[in-house]
Amino acid sequence: MAEHQHEPVPYKTFILIWVVLLVLTVVTIAVSRIQLDALNIWVALAIASIKSSLVVFIFMHLRQESKLFKIGLVTLLVIVAIFIGLTFTDVLYR
């Protein structure tokens, strides 16, 4: 067998991550009911980012993948940041 295959991730790990994701969902909803003005949206985005990292690294097995996959993800994030950042240099100063 030339193909390298991943070690199976135990069921327990996945279930634990699922519980954390549900807890974070409850936290997002709870925090969203408190008036924090502009901060609300940043807290929501921060929690969503934590949730997506859990999905990407554990559920999607990125943790087990080679460096190439991780470089790909960083590249994507940089592209999206440029995409959003450049748009806002226009939108905010109109």
Binding site: E3, I47, V56, I58, M60, S66, F69, T75, F83, I84
Partner: protein, 199 residues
């Protein structure tokens, strides 16, 4: 020994590259959202209150759980537990259907209240609220199409597992379908707070 070209890692990387383009597709919609939010903060909060937070929350739980079941299916096939793999795939598909049924009831309620793109009621509500709902229907609609595609894909691969074409030795197809399914979950993780939870 048969000579056969095979590159599982390459196949997975190809799937990841495709998913990156999907992220860029959705990020375009999120940029539009951010621009409209910057312009109409009050109207967005008002419009968000018209969405049913219960539907949103239930669908969040449904999707997170379906992500779990398809992740478990990968472990099951790696351990050569074919029956478990099939059960987990079917549970994932059922959850996808539950999500879409919820969406049907949610949208029916909204449309019956006159909230849909181009309605007279929307024209009365003004440009900010209209922008919110147009983006809401488009983003959630595109996401719904992804649910449909992902669910179908998992169904096809599950049939191949049942026929023994996808096995514990060769399961990249199931892995890639699962990756697609997780992307659908990722989009919803951002969509839910941004549309349902604005104060």
């Amino acid at each position: 020994m048969s000579i056969e070209h095979r590159d599982d890692t390459g196949a997975r990387f190809g799937m990841w590259l495709f998913l990156y383009t999907e992220v860029i597709l959705f990020s375009g919609l999120f940029i539009l959202y951010a621009m409209a939010l910057a312009k109409y903060p009050q109207e967005f909060a008002e419009a968000s209150h018209k969405l049913n937070i219960y539907f949103g929350t239930i669908n969040t739980i449904v999707l997170l759980t379906s992500s779990l079941t398809i992740a478990l299916a990968i472990t099951a096939i790696q351990r050569n537990k074919i029956k478990q793999t099939l059960t987990l795939c079917i549970v994932t598909i059922v959850l996808a259907i539950v999500f879409l049924i919820n969406k049907y009831f949610e949208w029916s309620a909204e449309i019956s209240h006159g909230i849909y793109p181009g309605s007279n009621h929307m024209a009365e509500l003004g440009p900010g609220i209209t922008a919110f709902f147009n983006l809401y229907y488009f983003t959630a609609g595109l996401h719904g199409v992804h649910i449909l595609i992902g669910g179908t894909l998992i169904g096809v691969v599950a049939a191949m597992v049942a026929k023994g074409k996808v096995t514990s030795d060769r399961y990249t197809l199931l892995e890639n379908s699962a990756l697609y399914w997780h992307l659908v979950d990722l989009v919803w993780i951002f969509l839910f707070p941004l549309y349902y939870l604005i104060l």
